[in-house]
Protein backbone atom coordinates (compact mmCIF):
# COMPACT_ATOMS: atom_id res chain seq x y z
CA UNK A 1 0.00 0.00 0.00
CA UNK A 2 1.42 3.34 -1.10
CA UNK A 3 -0.07 5.32 1.76
CA UNK A 4 1.65 3.40 4.53
CA UNK A 5 5.17 4.00 3.20
CA UNK A 6 7.06 6.74 4.96
CA UNK A 7 8.18 9.92 3.23
CA UNK A 8 11.81 8.83 3.47
CA UNK A 9 11.29 5.53 1.70
CA UNK A 10 9.29 7.28 -1.01
CA UNK A 11 12.14 9.73 -1.43
CA UNK A 12 14.63 6.92 -1.69
CA UNK A 13 12.60 5.29 -4.43
CA UNK A 14 12.60 8.55 -6.32
CA UNK A 15 8.91 9.33 -6.24
CA UNK A 16 9.29 12.70 -4.60
CA UNK A 17 12.19 13.64 -6.84
CA UNK A 18 10.21 12.69 -9.95
CA UNK A 19 7.25 14.68 -8.69
CA UNK A 20 9.44 17.71 -8.02
CA UNK A 21 11.23 17.57 -11.36
CA UNK A 22 8.07 17.20 -13.41
CA UNK A 23 6.43 19.91 -11.29
CA UNK A 24 9.26 22.31 -12.12
CA UNK A 25 8.72 21.73 -15.83
CA UNK A 26 4.96 22.18 -15.53
CA UNK A 27 5.38 25.29 -13.39
CA UNK A 28 7.79 26.85 -15.87
CA UNK A 29 5.15 26.49 -18.61
CA UNK A 30 2.87 28.63 -16.45
CA UNK A 31 5.75 30.99 -15.74
CA UNK A 32 6.58 31.42 -19.41
CA UNK A 33 2.98 32.28 -20.19
CA UNK A 34 2.83 34.84 -17.40
CA UNK A 35 6.17 36.25 -18.50
CA UNK A 36 4.87 36.63 -22.05
CA UNK A 37 1.90 38.73 -20.94
CA UNK A 38 4.14 40.72 -18.58
CA UNK A 39 6.74 41.47 -21.27
CA UNK A 40 4.05 42.65 -23.68
CA UNK A 41 2.55 44.84 -20.98
CA UNK A 42 5.71 46.61 -19.72
CA UNK A 43 7.18 46.95 -23.19
CA UNK A 44 4.14 48.86 -24.40
CA UNK A 45 4.06 51.35 -21.53
CA UNK A 46 5.29 54.38 -23.52
CA UNK A 47 2.45 54.58 -26.07
CA UNK A 48 -0.03 53.69 -23.34
CA UNK A 49 1.01 56.74 -21.35
CA UNK A 50 1.49 59.05 -24.28
CA UNK A 51 -1.62 58.23 -26.33
CA UNK A 52 -3.89 56.47 -23.86
CA UNK A 53 -7.10 55.24 -25.42
CA UNK A 54 -6.58 57.65 -28.34
CA UNK A 55 -4.17 55.00 -29.62
CA UNK A 56 -7.17 52.99 -30.76
CA UNK A 57 -9.05 55.78 -32.54
CA UNK A 58 -6.21 57.68 -34.19
CA UNK A 59 -5.85 57.16 -37.90
CA UNK A 60 -2.35 58.59 -38.30
CA UNK A 61 0.67 56.28 -38.38
CA UNK A 62 3.66 58.51 -38.91
CA UNK A 63 6.96 57.25 -37.50
CA UNK A 64 8.77 60.43 -38.60
CA UNK A 65 6.50 62.67 -36.53
CA UNK A 66 6.24 60.10 -33.71
CA UNK A 67 2.49 59.87 -34.20
CA UNK A 68 1.06 56.38 -33.80
CA UNK A 69 -2.56 55.33 -34.09
CA UNK A 70 -3.81 51.77 -34.35
CA UNK A 71 -7.10 52.40 -36.11
CA UNK A 72 -6.09 51.60 -39.74
CA UNK A 73 -4.56 48.29 -38.62
CA UNK A 74 -7.49 47.30 -36.45
CA UNK A 75 -9.78 48.20 -39.33
CA UNK A 76 -7.76 46.11 -41.78
CA UNK A 77 -7.64 43.13 -39.44
CA UNK A 78 -11.38 43.26 -38.80
CA UNK A 79 -12.36 43.76 -42.45
CA UNK A 80 -10.13 41.00 -43.84
CA UNK A 81 -11.30 38.60 -41.12
CA UNK A 82 -14.95 39.45 -41.80
CA UNK A 83 -14.52 38.88 -45.55
CA UNK A 84 -12.74 35.61 -44.84
CA UNK A 85 -15.49 34.37 -42.55
CA UNK A 86 -18.24 35.32 -45.05
CA UNK A 87 -16.54 33.11 -47.63
CA UNK A 88 -15.21 30.30 -45.46
CA UNK A 89 -18.14 29.67 -43.12
CA UNK A 90 -20.74 28.56 -45.73
CA UNK A 91 -18.21 26.47 -47.62
CA UNK A 92 -16.73 24.95 -44.46
CA UNK A 93 -20.05 24.13 -42.84
CA UNK A 94 -21.39 22.72 -46.11
CA UNK A 95 -18.39 20.45 -46.39
CA UNK A 96 -18.66 19.46 -42.72
CA UNK A 97 -22.32 18.51 -43.23
CA UNK A 98 -21.33 16.34 -46.17
CA UNK A 99 -18.57 14.64 -44.16
CA UNK A 100 -20.67 14.08 -41.05
CA UNK A 101 -24.10 13.31 -42.48
CA UNK A 102 -23.82 11.98 -46.00
CA UNK A 103 -20.46 10.45 -46.73
CA UNK A 104 -19.96 6.81 -45.72
CA UNK A 105 -17.53 6.56 -42.77
CA UNK A 106 -14.64 5.40 -44.89
CA UNK A 107 -15.00 8.23 -47.42
CA UNK A 108 -15.52 10.70 -44.59
CA UNK A 109 -12.35 9.59 -42.81
CA UNK A 110 -10.30 9.73 -45.99
CA UNK A 111 -11.52 13.22 -46.81
CA UNK A 112 -10.92 14.30 -43.22
CA UNK A 113 -7.36 13.04 -43.57
CA UNK A 114 -6.85 15.34 -46.55
CA UNK A 115 -8.51 18.20 -44.67
CA UNK A 116 -6.06 17.66 -41.80
CA UNK A 117 -3.17 17.79 -44.25
CA UNK A 118 -4.62 20.99 -45.70
CA UNK A 119 -4.63 22.48 -42.20
CA UNK A 120 -0.93 21.66 -41.97
CA UNK A 121 0.03 23.70 -45.04
CA UNK A 122 2.13 26.61 -43.74
CA UNK A 123 0.74 30.10 -44.13
CA UNK A 124 3.70 31.34 -46.17
CA UNK A 125 2.71 28.85 -48.88
CA UNK A 126 -0.81 30.28 -48.92
CA UNK A 127 0.89 33.66 -49.23
CA UNK A 128 2.85 32.50 -52.27
CA UNK A 129 -0.36 31.21 -53.83
CA UNK A 130 -2.02 34.52 -53.02
CA UNK A 131 0.72 36.52 -54.70
CA UNK A 132 0.92 34.43 -57.86
CA UNK A 133 -2.68 33.27 -58.32
CA UNK A 134 -5.22 35.31 -56.35
CA UNK A 135 -3.67 38.72 -57.10
CA UNK A 136 -3.68 38.29 -60.92
CA UNK A 137 -7.11 36.64 -60.69
CA UNK A 138 -8.34 39.65 -58.75
CA UNK A 139 -7.07 42.09 -61.37
CA UNK A 140 -8.34 40.18 -64.39
CA UNK A 141 -11.48 38.37 -63.30
CA UNK A 142 -12.92 39.22 -59.90
CA UNK A 143 -12.48 42.99 -60.07
CA UNK A 144 -14.20 43.48 -63.48
CA UNK A 145 -16.93 41.03 -62.51
CA UNK A 146 -17.77 42.90 -59.32
CA UNK A 147 -16.90 46.47 -60.25
CA UNK A 148 -18.99 46.68 -63.45
CA UNK A 149 -22.39 45.61 -62.10
CA UNK A 150 -21.93 46.64 -58.44
CA UNK A 151 -19.51 49.57 -58.79
CA UNK A 152 -22.11 51.97 -57.39
CA UNK A 153 -21.78 50.29 -53.97
CA UNK A 154 -19.05 51.90 -51.86
CA UNK A 155 -17.46 48.54 -51.06
CA UNK A 156 -16.89 47.72 -54.76
CA UNK A 157 -15.92 51.25 -55.87
CA UNK A 158 -12.61 52.52 -57.12
CA UNK A 159 -9.66 51.02 -58.88
CA UNK A 160 -8.02 47.71 -58.00
CA UNK A 161 -4.31 47.07 -57.75
CA UNK A 162 -4.74 43.38 -57.24
CA UNK A 163 -3.65 43.56 -53.62
CA UNK A 164 -6.09 44.76 -50.96
CA UNK A 165 -8.70 43.85 -48.35
CA UNK A 166 -10.68 41.51 -50.60
CA UNK A 167 -7.57 39.65 -51.82
CA UNK A 168 -6.36 39.17 -48.25
CA UNK A 169 -9.85 38.05 -47.24
CA UNK A 170 -9.98 35.43 -49.99
CA UNK A 171 -6.56 34.00 -49.10
CA UNK A 172 -7.50 33.96 -45.40
CA UNK A 173 -10.78 32.20 -46.24
CA UNK A 174 -8.90 29.39 -47.97
CA UNK A 175 -6.73 28.98 -44.85
CA UNK A 176 -9.70 28.92 -42.49
CA UNK A 177 -11.77 26.30 -44.34
CA UNK A 178 -9.94 23.25 -42.92
CA UNK A 179 -10.27 24.50 -39.33
CA UNK A 180 -14.00 25.11 -39.69
CA UNK A 181 -14.53 21.72 -41.36
CA UNK A 182 -12.57 19.71 -38.76
CA UNK A 183 -14.24 21.17 -35.70
CA UNK A 184 -17.75 21.38 -37.20
CA UNK A 185 -17.52 17.76 -38.35
CA UNK A 186 -16.57 16.66 -34.83
CA UNK A 187 -19.47 18.60 -33.38
CA UNK A 188 -21.96 17.30 -35.96
CA UNK A 189 -20.82 13.72 -35.36
CA UNK A 190 -21.47 14.16 -31.63
CA UNK A 191 -25.17 14.85 -32.29
CA UNK A 192 -27.06 11.77 -31.05
CA UNK A 193 -28.42 9.41 -33.70
CA UNK A 194 -31.96 9.45 -32.29
CA UNK A 195 -32.30 13.12 -33.22
CA UNK A 196 -31.85 12.25 -36.90
CA UNK A 197 -33.99 9.14 -36.73
CA UNK A 198 -36.82 11.00 -34.99
CA UNK A 199 -36.85 13.68 -37.67
CA UNK A 200 -36.79 11.11 -40.48
CA UNK A 201 -39.54 9.09 -38.80
CA UNK A 202 -41.72 12.22 -38.73
CA UNK A 203 -41.42 12.37 -42.50
CA UNK A 204 -38.66 14.93 -42.89
CA UNK A 205 -36.45 14.63 -45.96
CA UNK A 206 -32.79 14.00 -45.35
CA UNK A 207 -31.91 17.66 -45.83
CA UNK A 208 -34.74 18.80 -43.54
CA UNK A 209 -33.55 16.49 -40.80
CA UNK A 210 -30.01 17.79 -41.24
CA UNK A 211 -30.80 21.47 -41.52
CA UNK A 212 -33.72 21.78 -39.09
CA UNK A 213 -32.69 19.25 -36.44
CA UNK A 214 -29.01 18.26 -36.53
CA UNK A 215 -27.52 21.67 -37.33
CA UNK A 216 -29.59 23.58 -34.72
CA UNK A 217 -28.60 20.94 -32.17
CA UNK A 218 -24.93 21.53 -32.98
CA UNK A 219 -25.32 25.30 -33.43
CA UNK A 220 -23.26 26.40 -30.42
CA UNK A 221 -20.40 24.07 -31.33
CA UNK A 222 -20.40 25.28 -34.91
CA UNK A 223 -20.28 28.84 -33.59
CA UNK A 224 -17.29 27.71 -31.55
CA UNK A 225 -15.53 26.49 -34.69
CA UNK A 226 -16.21 29.87 -36.31
CA UNK A 227 -14.73 31.75 -33.34
CA UNK A 228 -11.71 29.46 -33.42
CA UNK A 229 -11.28 30.26 -37.10
CA UNK A 230 -11.74 33.96 -36.38
CA UNK A 231 -8.98 33.86 -33.77
CA UNK A 232 -6.70 32.28 -36.37
CA UNK A 233 -7.65 34.88 -38.95
CA UNK A 234 -6.90 37.80 -36.63
CA UNK A 235 -3.45 36.51 -35.80
CA UNK A 236 -2.53 35.33 -39.28
CA UNK A 237 0.55 37.16 -40.45
CA UNK A 238 2.39 35.91 -43.50
CA UNK A 239 -0.38 35.29 -46.01
CA UNK A 240 -2.05 38.60 -45.20
CA UNK A 241 1.18 40.59 -45.27
CA UNK A 242 1.93 39.32 -48.76
CA UNK A 243 -1.38 40.34 -50.35
CA UNK A 244 -2.99 43.17 -48.36
CA UNK A 245 -0.95 45.96 -49.96
CA UNK A 246 0.64 47.31 -46.77
CA UNK A 247 -0.87 50.79 -46.86
CA UNK A 248 -2.08 52.18 -43.53
CA UNK A 249 -5.40 53.63 -44.60
CA UNK A 250 -9.09 53.21 -43.93
CA UNK A 251 -10.99 52.78 -47.18
CA UNK A 252 -14.56 51.70 -47.72
CA UNK A 253 -13.68 49.88 -50.93
CA UNK A 254 -12.66 46.25 -50.55
CA UNK A 255 -10.40 46.68 -53.59
CA UNK A 256 -8.28 49.28 -51.81
CA UNK A 257 -4.95 48.26 -50.28
CA UNK A 258 -4.82 48.26 -46.49
CA UNK A 259 -2.81 46.96 -43.57
CA UNK A 260 -3.40 44.59 -40.67
CA UNK A 261 -2.04 44.47 -37.12
CA UNK A 262 0.05 41.36 -37.67
CA UNK A 263 1.32 42.62 -41.04
CA UNK A 264 2.58 45.95 -39.69
CA UNK A 265 4.45 44.18 -36.90
CA UNK A 266 6.02 41.77 -39.38
CA UNK A 267 7.09 44.55 -41.74
CA UNK A 268 8.23 47.30 -39.42
CA UNK A 269 9.44 45.65 -36.22
CA UNK A 270 13.05 45.16 -37.25
CA UNK A 271 13.24 48.58 -38.86
CA UNK A 272 11.59 50.48 -36.03
CA UNK A 273 13.88 53.19 -34.72
CA UNK A 274 13.19 54.80 -31.38
CA UNK A 275 11.55 53.48 -28.28
CA UNK A 276 8.10 54.88 -28.99
CA UNK A 277 7.96 53.31 -32.47
CA UNK A 278 8.98 49.85 -31.22
CA UNK A 279 6.70 50.05 -28.21
CA UNK A 280 3.75 51.12 -30.36
CA UNK A 281 4.27 47.96 -32.42
CA UNK A 282 4.43 45.88 -29.24
CA UNK A 283 1.22 47.58 -28.09
CA UNK A 284 -0.36 46.38 -31.33
CA UNK A 285 0.91 42.90 -30.48
CA UNK A 286 -0.77 43.18 -27.08
CA UNK A 287 -4.05 44.17 -28.74
CA UNK A 288 -3.77 41.14 -31.00
CA UNK A 289 -3.00 38.89 -28.05
CA UNK A 290 -6.02 40.11 -26.10
CA UNK A 291 -8.34 39.70 -29.08
CA UNK A 292 -7.30 36.11 -29.74
CA UNK A 293 -7.33 35.36 -26.01
CA UNK A 294 -10.99 36.36 -25.69
CA UNK A 295 -12.05 34.60 -28.90
CA UNK A 296 -10.23 31.35 -28.07
CA UNK A 297 -11.79 31.24 -24.62
CA UNK A 298 -15.24 31.82 -26.03
CA UNK A 299 -14.72 29.18 -28.74
CA UNK A 300 -13.58 26.52 -26.29
CA UNK A 301 -16.54 27.19 -24.03
CA UNK A 302 -19.03 26.83 -26.89
CA UNK A 303 -17.47 23.61 -28.19
CA UNK A 304 -17.41 22.05 -24.71
CA UNK A 305 -21.04 23.03 -24.09
CA UNK A 306 -22.21 21.38 -27.32
CA UNK A 307 -20.27 18.14 -27.05
CA UNK A 308 -21.46 17.74 -23.46
CA UNK A 309 -25.03 18.38 -24.54
CA UNK A 310 -24.65 15.52 -27.04
CA UNK A 311 -23.31 13.08 -24.47
CA UNK A 312 -25.97 14.07 -21.94
CA UNK A 313 -28.83 13.34 -24.34
CA UNK A 314 -27.23 10.07 -25.30
CA UNK A 315 -26.86 9.06 -21.69
Amino acid sequence: MAGSRSFISKLREGDEIARLVTFLFAASVVLITVLLVYELWINSALPRHKFGLHFFVTEVWDPVMDQFGALPFIYGTVVTSAVALCLAVPLGIGAAIFLAELAPPRVSDTLEFFIDLLAAVPSVIYGVLGVFIVVPLMRQVIYPALNKPFGFLPIFKGPSYGVGFLTAGIVLAIMLIPYIISVSREVLLSVPRDQREAALALGATRWESTWKVVVPFAKTGIMGSVFLALARALGETMAVTMVIGNTPQIAASLFAPGYSIAAVIANEFTEATGELYTQSLIALGLVLFLLTFVLNGLARLLIIVTTQKGSKVRA
Binding site: E13, A18, R19, T22, F23, F25, A26, S28, V29, V30, I32, L35, L36, E39, G92, G94, A95, I97, F98, L99, L102, A103, F113, F114, I115, D116, L117, L118, A120, V121, P122, S123, V124, I125, G127, V128, L129, V131, F132, I177, I181, T205, E208, W211, A231, L234, G235, T237, M238, M242, A262, I265, F269, T270, I282, G285, F289, T292, N296, R300
Partner: protein, 283 residues
Protein backbone atom coordinates in the same frame (compact mmCIF):
# COMPACT_ATOMS: atom_id res chain seq x y z
CA UNK B 1 -47.23 11.88 -54.20
CA UNK B 2 -48.09 15.56 -54.43
CA UNK B 3 -46.14 18.46 -55.85
CA UNK B 4 -45.14 19.72 -52.42
CA UNK B 5 -43.38 16.48 -51.52
CA UNK B 6 -41.67 16.44 -54.88
CA UNK B 7 -40.41 19.96 -54.26
CA UNK B 8 -39.12 19.03 -50.81
CA UNK B 9 -37.29 16.04 -52.22
CA UNK B 10 -35.84 18.22 -54.94
CA UNK B 11 -34.60 20.78 -52.40
CA UNK B 12 -33.16 17.97 -50.28
CA UNK B 13 -31.22 16.46 -53.16
CA UNK B 14 -30.06 19.86 -54.37
CA UNK B 15 -28.73 20.96 -50.98
CA UNK B 16 -27.08 17.63 -50.25
CA UNK B 17 -25.36 17.79 -53.64
CA UNK B 18 -24.21 21.29 -52.80
CA UNK B 19 -22.63 20.11 -49.53
CA UNK B 20 -20.83 17.46 -51.58
CA UNK B 21 -19.55 20.18 -53.89
CA UNK B 22 -18.33 22.15 -50.84
CA UNK B 23 -16.41 19.11 -49.59
CA UNK B 24 -14.98 18.41 -53.03
CA UNK B 25 -13.84 22.02 -53.49
CA UNK B 26 -12.23 22.10 -50.04
CA UNK B 27 -10.27 18.90 -50.52
CA UNK B 28 -9.25 19.82 -54.05
CA UNK B 29 -7.46 22.92 -52.69
CA UNK B 30 -4.82 20.60 -51.25
CA UNK B 31 -4.21 18.90 -54.58
CA UNK B 32 -4.26 22.22 -56.36
CA UNK B 33 -1.53 23.59 -54.08
CA UNK B 34 0.57 20.44 -54.51
CA UNK B 35 0.09 20.42 -58.26
CA UNK B 36 0.86 24.12 -58.58
CA UNK B 37 4.09 23.86 -56.61
CA UNK B 38 5.13 20.69 -58.46
CA UNK B 39 4.42 22.28 -61.85
CA UNK B 40 6.22 25.56 -61.12
CA UNK B 41 8.92 24.51 -58.69
CA UNK B 42 9.57 20.90 -59.62
CA UNK B 43 11.94 21.81 -62.43
CA UNK B 44 14.09 23.97 -60.15
CA UNK B 45 14.78 21.17 -57.72
CA UNK B 46 18.13 19.75 -58.59
CA UNK B 47 21.40 18.86 -56.95
CA UNK B 48 22.50 22.51 -56.78
CA UNK B 49 19.32 23.46 -54.96
CA UNK B 50 20.32 21.30 -52.01
CA UNK B 51 24.06 21.90 -52.06
CA UNK B 52 24.79 25.50 -53.10
CA UNK B 53 24.47 28.93 -51.54
CA UNK B 54 22.13 31.50 -53.12
CA UNK B 55 23.68 33.37 -56.04
CA UNK B 56 23.72 37.18 -56.12
CA UNK B 57 20.84 38.92 -57.91
CA UNK B 58 21.08 38.56 -61.67
CA UNK B 59 23.04 35.34 -61.69
CA UNK B 60 20.87 32.37 -62.49
CA UNK B 61 21.20 29.19 -60.44
CA UNK B 62 22.45 28.67 -56.94
CA UNK B 63 20.61 26.86 -54.22
CA UNK B 64 19.27 27.01 -50.73
CA UNK B 65 21.67 24.78 -48.83
CA UNK B 66 22.08 27.38 -46.10
CA UNK B 67 18.32 27.75 -45.62
CA UNK B 68 17.79 23.99 -45.49
CA UNK B 69 20.56 23.53 -42.92
CA UNK B 70 19.31 26.61 -41.06
CA UNK B 71 15.79 25.22 -40.85
CA UNK B 72 17.13 21.87 -39.67
CA UNK B 73 19.19 23.53 -36.93
CA UNK B 74 16.25 25.68 -35.86
CA UNK B 75 13.97 22.64 -35.63
CA UNK B 76 16.55 20.58 -33.76
CA UNK B 77 17.16 23.21 -31.11
CA UNK B 78 13.45 23.99 -30.90
CA UNK B 79 12.67 20.32 -30.19
CA UNK B 80 15.46 20.10 -27.61
CA UNK B 81 13.85 23.03 -25.80
CA UNK B 82 10.14 22.45 -26.40
CA UNK B 83 9.79 18.68 -26.13
CA UNK B 84 11.23 18.18 -22.58
CA UNK B 85 9.06 20.96 -21.18
CA UNK B 86 5.96 19.62 -22.85
CA UNK B 87 6.74 15.97 -22.08
CA UNK B 88 7.71 16.41 -18.42
CA UNK B 89 4.89 18.88 -17.85
CA UNK B 90 2.49 16.38 -19.38
CA UNK B 91 3.74 13.64 -17.04
CA UNK B 92 3.20 15.92 -14.08
CA UNK B 93 -0.36 16.69 -15.19
CA UNK B 94 -1.29 13.07 -15.84
CA UNK B 95 0.46 11.38 -12.94
CA UNK B 96 1.24 13.72 -10.05
CA UNK B 97 -0.80 16.89 -9.93
CA UNK B 98 -4.06 17.57 -8.13
CA UNK B 99 -7.01 18.86 -10.13
CA UNK B 100 -6.45 22.52 -9.20
CA UNK B 101 -2.81 22.77 -10.22
CA UNK B 102 -3.61 20.76 -13.33
CA UNK B 103 -6.26 23.19 -14.45
CA UNK B 104 -3.89 26.14 -13.99
CA UNK B 105 -1.15 24.48 -16.07
CA UNK B 106 -3.66 23.36 -18.68
CA UNK B 107 -5.07 26.85 -18.92
CA UNK B 108 -1.61 28.35 -19.34
CA UNK B 109 -0.78 25.84 -22.07
CA UNK B 110 -4.02 26.53 -23.95
CA UNK B 111 -3.35 30.24 -23.67
CA UNK B 112 0.16 29.79 -25.04
CA UNK B 113 -1.22 27.65 -27.86
CA UNK B 114 -3.59 30.42 -28.92
CA UNK B 115 -1.01 33.22 -28.96
CA UNK B 116 -0.55 34.46 -32.55
CA UNK B 117 2.85 33.41 -33.85
CA UNK B 118 3.91 36.99 -34.55
CA UNK B 119 3.40 37.81 -30.85
CA UNK B 120 5.58 34.81 -29.95
CA UNK B 121 8.18 36.46 -32.18
CA UNK B 122 7.96 39.72 -30.23
CA UNK B 123 8.35 37.80 -26.96
CA UNK B 124 11.42 35.91 -28.19
CA UNK B 125 12.84 39.16 -29.51
CA UNK B 126 12.59 40.98 -26.19
CA UNK B 127 13.73 37.95 -24.18
CA UNK B 128 16.59 36.55 -26.28
CA UNK B 129 17.54 39.01 -29.03
CA UNK B 130 17.57 42.27 -27.02
CA UNK B 131 19.79 41.11 -24.11
CA UNK B 132 22.40 39.61 -26.48
CA UNK B 133 22.00 42.37 -29.05
CA UNK B 134 22.16 39.71 -31.76
CA UNK B 135 19.69 37.92 -34.01
CA UNK B 136 20.49 34.25 -33.74
CA UNK B 137 19.56 30.66 -34.45
CA UNK B 138 18.98 30.24 -30.73
CA UNK B 139 16.44 33.07 -30.60
CA UNK B 140 14.53 31.53 -33.51
CA UNK B 141 14.65 28.11 -31.87
CA UNK B 142 13.35 29.60 -28.63
CA UNK B 143 10.35 31.05 -30.47
CA UNK B 144 9.61 27.79 -32.30
CA UNK B 145 10.20 25.70 -29.17
CA UNK B 146 7.68 27.82 -27.26
CA UNK B 147 5.09 26.92 -29.87
CA UNK B 148 5.87 23.20 -29.49
CA UNK B 149 5.38 23.15 -25.70
CA UNK B 150 1.58 23.36 -25.46
CA UNK B 151 0.97 20.77 -28.19
CA UNK B 152 3.41 18.28 -26.66
CA UNK B 153 2.16 18.91 -23.14
CA UNK B 154 -1.53 18.47 -23.79
CA UNK B 155 -1.11 15.35 -25.91
CA UNK B 156 1.37 13.72 -23.52
CA UNK B 157 -1.19 14.19 -20.77
CA UNK B 158 -3.98 12.87 -22.97
CA UNK B 159 -2.14 9.74 -24.08
CA UNK B 160 -0.85 8.95 -20.57
CA UNK B 161 -4.38 9.21 -19.25
CA UNK B 162 -5.54 6.82 -21.96
CA UNK B 163 -3.24 4.05 -20.70
CA UNK B 164 -5.49 1.45 -19.02
CA UNK B 165 -5.28 1.60 -15.23
CA UNK B 166 -4.79 -2.18 -15.15
CA UNK B 167 -1.20 -1.65 -16.33
CA UNK B 168 -0.59 0.91 -13.61
CA UNK B 169 -2.05 -1.26 -10.89
CA UNK B 170 -0.17 -4.30 -12.13
CA UNK B 171 3.17 -2.55 -11.84
CA UNK B 172 2.31 -1.13 -8.43
CA UNK B 173 1.22 -4.55 -7.22
CA UNK B 174 4.61 -5.94 -8.22
CA UNK B 175 6.17 -3.39 -5.88
CA UNK B 176 7.42 -0.83 -8.36
CA UNK B 177 7.61 2.72 -7.14
CA UNK B 178 5.51 5.33 -8.87
CA UNK B 179 8.23 6.82 -11.01
CA UNK B 180 9.44 3.38 -11.99
CA UNK B 181 5.89 2.51 -13.04
CA UNK B 182 5.75 5.70 -15.12
CA UNK B 183 9.17 5.23 -16.68
CA UNK B 184 8.96 1.53 -17.47
CA UNK B 185 5.25 0.83 -17.95
CA UNK B 186 3.08 3.85 -18.60
CA UNK B 187 5.26 5.95 -20.88
CA UNK B 188 6.29 2.95 -23.03
CA UNK B 189 2.60 2.04 -23.39
CA UNK B 190 1.78 5.53 -24.58
CA UNK B 191 4.92 6.27 -26.56
CA UNK B 192 3.35 6.01 -30.01
CA UNK B 193 0.77 8.64 -29.20
CA UNK B 194 3.36 10.94 -27.67
CA UNK B 195 5.71 10.46 -30.61
CA UNK B 196 2.87 11.34 -32.98
CA UNK B 197 2.16 14.50 -31.04
CA UNK B 198 5.82 15.55 -31.11
CA UNK B 199 6.02 14.93 -34.85
CA UNK B 200 2.86 16.95 -35.45
CA UNK B 201 4.21 19.77 -33.32
CA UNK B 202 7.44 19.66 -35.31
CA UNK B 203 5.55 19.77 -38.60
CA UNK B 204 3.53 22.70 -37.38
CA UNK B 205 6.49 24.88 -36.41
CA UNK B 206 8.53 23.82 -39.47
CA UNK B 207 6.45 26.12 -41.65
CA UNK B 208 6.24 29.02 -39.22
CA UNK B 209 7.60 32.22 -40.69
CA UNK B 210 6.33 35.06 -38.53
CA UNK B 211 8.25 34.18 -35.33
CA UNK B 212 11.50 33.90 -37.29
CA UNK B 213 11.34 37.32 -38.95
CA UNK B 214 12.90 39.14 -36.02
CA UNK B 215 14.61 36.31 -34.18
CA UNK B 216 16.55 34.23 -36.71
CA UNK B 217 16.23 37.05 -39.28
CA UNK B 218 17.85 35.65 -42.42
CA UNK B 219 21.25 35.23 -43.97
CA UNK B 220 22.58 35.00 -47.52
CA UNK B 221 25.48 32.85 -46.34
CA UNK B 222 26.19 29.99 -43.97
CA UNK B 223 25.51 30.64 -40.33
CA UNK B 224 28.25 29.11 -38.19
CA UNK B 225 27.38 28.02 -34.67
CA UNK B 226 24.19 29.00 -32.91
CA UNK B 227 24.68 32.68 -32.17
CA UNK B 228 24.41 34.14 -35.69
CA UNK B 229 21.43 35.13 -37.83
CA UNK B 230 20.46 32.21 -40.02
CA UNK B 231 18.51 31.60 -43.19
CA UNK B 232 15.47 29.35 -42.99
CA UNK B 233 13.20 27.92 -45.68
CA UNK B 234 9.97 29.74 -44.72
CA UNK B 235 11.64 33.16 -44.50
CA UNK B 236 13.47 32.61 -47.80
CA UNK B 237 10.17 31.68 -49.47
CA UNK B 238 8.62 34.85 -48.09
CA UNK B 239 11.46 37.08 -49.29
CA UNK B 240 11.86 35.43 -52.69
CA UNK B 241 8.14 35.39 -53.49
CA UNK B 242 7.98 39.15 -52.92
CA UNK B 243 11.04 39.92 -55.02
CA UNK B 244 10.69 41.15 -58.61
CA UNK B 245 13.02 38.49 -60.06
CA UNK B 246 11.68 35.58 -62.13
CA UNK B 247 14.48 33.28 -61.06
CA UNK B 248 13.84 33.95 -57.38
CA UNK B 249 10.15 33.17 -57.90
CA UNK B 250 11.10 29.79 -59.33
CA UNK B 251 13.36 29.19 -56.34
CA UNK B 252 10.57 30.21 -53.96
CA UNK B 253 8.26 27.66 -55.58
CA UNK B 254 10.93 24.98 -55.35
CA UNK B 255 11.58 25.82 -51.69
CA UNK B 256 7.83 25.80 -51.06
CA UNK B 257 7.62 22.35 -52.60
CA UNK B 258 10.45 21.05 -50.42
CA UNK B 259 8.95 22.57 -47.28
CA UNK B 260 5.43 21.37 -48.01
CA UNK B 261 6.74 17.93 -48.95
CA UNK B 262 8.58 17.68 -45.64
CA UNK B 263 5.56 18.80 -43.64
CA UNK B 264 3.14 16.46 -45.42
CA UNK B 265 5.47 13.48 -45.07
CA UNK B 266 5.95 14.11 -41.35
CA UNK B 267 2.18 14.47 -40.96
CA UNK B 268 1.45 11.23 -42.78
CA UNK B 269 4.22 9.44 -40.87
CA UNK B 270 2.84 10.67 -37.55
CA UNK B 271 -0.67 9.51 -38.39
CA UNK B 272 0.57 6.08 -39.53
CA UNK B 273 2.46 5.60 -36.27
CA UNK B 274 -0.65 6.46 -34.32
CA UNK B 275 -3.07 4.29 -36.27
CA UNK B 276 -0.77 1.29 -35.92
CA UNK B 277 -0.31 1.98 -32.22
CA UNK B 278 -3.95 2.08 -31.24
CA UNK B 279 -4.19 -1.68 -30.86
CA UNK B 280 -0.92 -2.06 -28.98
CA UNK B 281 -1.59 -0.70 -25.47
CA UNK B 282 -5.01 -2.35 -25.22
CA UNK B 283 -4.02 -5.86 -26.25
Amino acid sequence: MNARLGWRKFVSNLMLTLTGVCAFVSVSILFFILGYLLFNGGASINWAFFTQLPKPVGEVGGGMANAIVGSAKLLLAASLFGVPFGFMGGIYLAEFSGPKTASVVRYAADLLNGVPSIVIGIFAFSLVVLPFKQFSTLAGSFALGLMMIPITLRSTEEFLNAVPSVLREGAMALGASKWKTIATVIVPAAYRGILTAILLALARVAGETAPLLFTALGNRFWSPGWGQPTASLPVVIYNYAQSPYEDWHRQAWAAGLVLLGFILIVNILARTILSRGIAAPRS
